[in-house]
Each structure stands twice: as C-alpha cells, then as structure tokens.
C-alpha cells in the first residue's frame, strides 16, 4: 500500500474532536433479501473525527457508509445524523443528504454538464442559492482542489484524479457537515492517488468530519483519529491508528493487516 502521505507535515491545530455527536448508530442491522449484510452495528462519531474504515472485500464497508445517507435502507436499529433520525420520511432523508457529502469510487460526475455546472447544480436546485453566488462558491472550491482552469470542460476531458477532485469539490459546494468517502482512490493510478489524498488531507486539516473507506494505510496513520476494522458485516476492532497498526488485538485484524501490509 502506498505511503504517499507519509512524508507530509500535518497541521493538527484545527483537527480537534468535539464533544458533539455527529452520527449515532445504534443496534443497526441490514439485510439484502435473506443475506444479513450488517450485523448489530453500534458506532458513535463525534464532530471533527476522521475515521478510516477498512476490512476485506465484501465485509460491508460500502453498505455501512451508504446507510448513513440512506442510499441503502437499514431494517433494524437507528441511525441519527446531525440530530435527524433516518426513517422513511423523505423530508428528513433529503435534509440529511444535503448535510452529508459523498465521494464515490467511480466519481459519478454528470457527464452532460461542465465541471462548473456539476458543482453548482445541487446548490442552485437544492439550497436555492442564486446562480452567481453558486458559481463563486464553486470556483472557490475548484481552486481549493487546484483545478479552477478546468471549470468549463466536461468530465470526459479530465483525468481520473482530476475527476475525483471535482467530485470532492462538488460535494463541498453543498457546505456539508460530514463527508463520506467510498474508496476514493482505488480506481486511480498511483500518481493520481497522491493528488486526491492531498486534497483529503487538506480537508481533514480544516476540521471536517470524515468517514473514509480506504486501504491507504499511510493516509490512515497520518490523518485518522480512529480506524475501524470490519469483517462479515460486523465491526471487529476499532482503535487509534498507532495502536491499531502496531498492536492489533483480534486474529482477523492481524490476518488482514499481514495481507495488506505484508507485500
């Protein structure tokens, strides 16, 4: 696994974890048909936390974070995001979704819109921000992810790393309180992984609450304040990164770490 983030100085002055709960997941269970994919998940995430979720393929990592913005529905237990409980109430779901940004493995930019339009669409139509203001915000965040000059191109004209940074900027334009990342770098070439990780590190330094499914262990060591290890739909172990990597408790974790760090 790449250690691209390892040699970077991290400014921790604003990376404080607050006392306020951002996400509260209690006894949550989810099934796909008869398949019990998430089992008795209990998780409290505080504002300002940077959480890395890892685990073998098929362990339910994606499903877990997709439950947080209700891309997937859970069948038992409760999920409360920013004080709003996720139920079948569409109003609540839309409210949560506009507070929670999400970045996908395959970017999922809208190919028929320009980069700028990708970034202004949701603020204009969901937050009702005037077009001009939305464009200013979009340019601000595009500058932040270091591609303002691409604003008028279409997604198909950008490299994978650039597309993923646009996807991050697009989420940030909604001024979310929480950001979810589902393997944001695993569809990218090594040199592009670095540019995306740099963007994410910057975001972390500003105190954003982040939940990140990734196998970038360098990123986890440097940025995360907590690493969660999942297997077979359960949270098997969670700890501070240092302790997690140097002194894993469960056998499953040891096996997993030996596999991904071993070569």
């Amino acid at each position: 696994m790449s250690d691209l983030a390892a040699n970077r100085e991290i400014d921790r002055s604003r990376m404080a974890v607050s006392e306020n709960v951002a996400i509260q997941i209690t006894n949550m269970n989810k099934w796909y048909g008869a398949f019990h994919v998430l089992r008795d998940i209990n998780l409290t995430i505080y504002e300002g936390e940077r959480i890395v979720v890892c685990g073998p393929s098929g362990s339910g990592k994606s499903t877990l974070i997709r439950c947080i913005n209700r891309l997937e529905e859970h069948q038992a237990g409760s999920i409360v995001v920013d004080g709003i409980e996720l139920t079948n109430d569409l109003k609540n779901i839309d409210k949560v979704r506009s507070e929670v940004g999400m970045v996908f493995q395959h970017f999922n930019l809208f190919p028929h819109l320009t980069i700028l339009e990708n970034c202004t669409l949701a603020p204009i139509w969901v937050r009702k921000v005037p077009k001009k203001e939305a464009e200013e915000t979009a340019m601000h965040f595009l500058e932040k992810v270091k591609i303002p000059e691409q604003a008028n191109k279409y997604p198909g004209q950008l490299s994978g790393g650039q597309q993923q940074r646009v996807a991050i900027a697009r989420s940030l334009c909604m001024k979310p309180k929480i950001m979810l990342f589902d393997e944001p770098t695993s569809a990218l070439d090594p040199e592009m992984i670095k540019e995306v990780l740099d963007t994410m590190i910057e975001l972390a330094q500003e105190g954003m609450t982040m939940i990140c499914v990734t196998h970038e262990m360098g990123f986890a060591r440097q940025v995360a304040n907590r690493v969660i290890f999942m297997d077979q739909g359960q949270i098997v172990e969670q700890n501070e990164p240092e302790a997690f990597f140097l002194n894993p408790q469960s056998d499953r974790t040891k096996l997993f770490l030996s596999q991904i760090l071993g070569h």
Binding site: N69, D94, M102, A122, Y154, R170
Partner: protein, 433 residues
C-alpha cells in the same frame, strides 16, 4: 551468433506517399477496387444502377404533362416519341396535386393550413435548435391553440377558453397548495381545468362570441385530406408522444405497484394490438359508447389513437435509454439531495434522451408513415386520395406516378427528420467531449 547491435547513422528523409494511395486513383483503389471480390461487387453494382436508370429515366422524361386522362396521355406520348414508347403520365399530378396536398379543404382558404404549418414549424424551431432566441418559446406555447384554430376555424373564443383552462389549473395549484398543502394543490390543478373544459368553457366561449363576435370560417373535418391530414395527425402524435412516453417509461420504473402495473399494462396492450385495430375502434366502436347525438370529431379520435400508439413505443425506446444509464448517476443525484423529479429532469432525462435519440427519431418516422393507415377507415390521406383518383374513369390505371409523388413527399419529411437526428447527435457529442 548474429550481431544484434545496430546504430543508424543517416536519418531517412520524408518522402511523398506512393501515387496508388492518394488522389482519385488512390481513392478508387481503396474504396472500390481494394480486392478482386470488391472489384467484382463494384462492377455488378454499377451494372445494376445502369439497368435501373436506363429504364426509369426515359420513363420519367418521356412523359406527358398536359393530358386530361390516361388514354390521352398515351396518345400524346406515342405521338411525340413514337409508337410503343412508355412514359409517365404526370398530368394526373398536375391536375390533382392540390387535392393530394389539401384534400377537399376550400381552395380560397388554403392560406390557413399553410400559415398553420408555418407557425408550427416556427414554434418547433426554438425547441429543436437551442441557439435560437428563447423569446420564440412564447410562440411555442401559443401554437397548440392557434394552429388548430387556423385549421378548423370558428370562433376565436374557443381556443382562448381552452387555453384559459391551463391558466385556471395553474391558479388552482397556487391558491389551493398555499391554503391546503401540496397534494391538494396538485389534485385541484388536475380537477379544475377538466371541469372547466367539460362544462364551462363552451358556455363561456359562446357567451363571449355573442358579446364580441370574432371568428373565421369553420371548416369541417370531412374536408380535411391529403398531406395536410397526414401532417396534422403526424405532428400532433409526434409532439405529444414524447412527453407521454417519458411519463410512461418513468411509471414503468416506479416503485409504486399500481402505477407500475397501469403503465406496463397500457404499454403492453397497445404494443400488442395492430394500429389498424385501434383505428377501427376509433372510427366504429367508439360511436356505440358515445351518448347518441354527441359528435366526437373523427380526426380527433384518430389523433388520440395514433398518439397513444406512438407513446407506447416511445416509452419502450426511452426505457432503453434509462436502462443504459449507470446506477452511479442516480446515486450521485441522491447523495446531493436532489429529489426524484429534480434528479429526473436535471440528471437522468438529459442523458437518457440523448442515448435514445436514434430510437426516438425512428419512432417519429414510423408514426408519420403509419398515418397513411387512416385511408383504411375512409379518411382521405394521400393514399386514400390516390385510390379515389384511380377510381375515376379518366385515371383508371395510373399507379407509379401517384405513388411515386406520394413517396417523394414522404421521403422529404422522413429524410429531414433523420438528418435532424444526426445533427443533434453530433452536436451533443461535441458538447460532452
């Protein structure tokens, strides 16, 4: 062992390509004679083209334009080009082209359908070509009321009152949803205009006409015919089938079981029944179900049937486009907090429709050509008219000339649609690349 090292000391200068690969000779070689088999096929095709043209061209050119019957035609051609020459009898077109275009529409009112279709084209232009000024869209909104008025004539207050129904619906939506919530507003927006159209609109139009009479000569549906009829039916069916098709395709994907069942049932039923059957239902059966004395215009009935037929096909074409859209697009729209309708309008439909353009235009072309089926229920579209022309003693036996003329006119329309679709595809492709 051989020596594997190599160093180039002199660079090869740039040279002109061999004559066999450029210029006309190169083109011929590459496209027509690239292999013995291709050469044989080229020669065979040239022979075929020559054979067709050598028969068709003399027939087209050695023709008569002035005769008043088929017999006279033959005499004129024989006199001019020698005994035994066969030539086209274009005189039938010269004599009857106005009827083939307008049917029995009063000849002093020909300007009305012409103006109406000109208006319809102008109204479609801003929809078809996004570069045109957006102000033209007002024309697009007015056209659905002005065009039928020009075609059928009558009091100007009828289209005004019909249009007023939409205004009332909008007002109801505003007022009721402010007073009693969104769902009540939507229901009111549906119910109020329908009540207005069913009961009050005609009374209001009559009253207004009595107070302030203004109208143009009414023309009965029976007088409609020829190409005008095909275009009227085709244009309405084409413009309405797209939105209805979109709604049906979305309904078919809906999570709501009843809506889904209705849409699937409708689509499968209509697609499972020949259009002719639907047209017979429109022309014969519906009369039995109507209260006696009501006069439900035959052209309107046919238009409704053709539109429903086209919509079912359109729905399936659009469903194909929807299916081709990656799930990630829906998820990204959801994750940004866009609700269902906004996601459909802003993300899903623009992409799905773009994917389906070739299928949509094929359906359009099919519908336009299918309008000729109305001749079977006795409407005088170009085909119906050509039958009645050939039933005349003077023109009995004229076949190629009439059908050739009709085919040429249909070709012009269908080919333009096809070209437009290619223009649109090219434009959207460059936009996104």
């Amino acid at each position: 062992m051989a020596d594997l090292t190599f160093v180039r000391h002199e660079m090869v200068p740039e040279q002109a390509p061999p004559a066999t690969s450029v210029g006309p000779r190169g083109w011929l070689r590459e496209n027509l004679f690239s292999s013995p088999l291709n050469a044989i096929l080229t020669l065979l095709s040239l022979g075929l083209i020559w054979w067709v043209l050598s028969h068709a061209l003399p027939w087209i050119v050695l023709s008569s334009w002035t005769a008043s019957s088929l017999g006279e035609c033959r005499e004129q051609i024989a006199a001019a080009h020698g005994e035994g020459t066969t030539g086209a009898c274009w005189a039938v077109i010269r004599e009857r082209y106005l009827q083939l275009l307008f049917g029995f529409y009063p000849s002093d009112l020909y300007w009305r359908p012409l103006l109406a279709f000109g208006l319809a084209l102008l109204a479609l232009a801003p929809v078809l070509f996004t570069a045109l000024p957006r102000r033209l869209l007002w024309l697009s909104a007015a056209a659905p009321f002005v065009v039928p008025w020009l075609l059928w004539g009558g009091s100007v207050w009828v289209p005004v009152c019909v249009a007023l129904g939409f205004g009332l619906g909008l007002a109801a939506l505003r007022v009721v949803s402010a007073a009693a919530g969104g769902l009540a507003g939507v229901i009111a927006a549906g119910v109020v205009p329908v009540l207005w159209w069913l009961f009050l609109a005609w009374v209001a139009a009559g009253l207004l006409q009595a107070i302030l009479p203004f109208g143009i000569t009414p023309v009965e549906s029976r007088a409609f015919g020829g190409f005008m009829l095909s275009i009227t039916i085709g244009l309405v069916a084409i413009t309405l089938s797209l939105p209805i098709g979109i709604v049906l395709a979305l309904g078919r994907q809906s999570n709501l079981l009843i809506i889904k069942a209705i849409c699937v049932g409708f689509i499968e039923f209509i697609r499972g029944v020949p259009l002719i059957t639907l047209l017979f239902v429109a022309s014969l059966l519906l009369n039995y179900f109507m209260p006696p004395g009501t006069n439900f215009d035959i052209i309107l009935r046919v238009i409704i049937m053709v539109t429903l037929f086209a919509s079912a096909y359109m729905a399936e074409v659009i469903r194909g486009g929807l299916a081709a859209l990656p799930r990630g697009q829906y998820e990204a729209a959801d994750a940004l907090g866009l609700d269902y309708w906004k996601a459909q309008r802003l993300i899903v439909m623009p992409q799905a429709l773009k994917i389906s353009i070739p299928g949509i235009v094929s359906t359009f072309i099919g519908v336009f050509k299918d309008t000729t089926l109305v001749s079977i229920i006795g409407l005088l579209d170009p085909l119906g008219f050509s039958n009645s022309i050939r039933a005349n003693a003077e023109w009995n036996g004229v076949v190629w000339e009439l059908y050739g003329f009709i085919a040429a006119l249909f070709f012009v329309f269908c080919f333009s649609m096809s070209r437009y679709s290619m223009y649109l595809e090219r434009k959207l492709r460059t936009e996104n690349r």
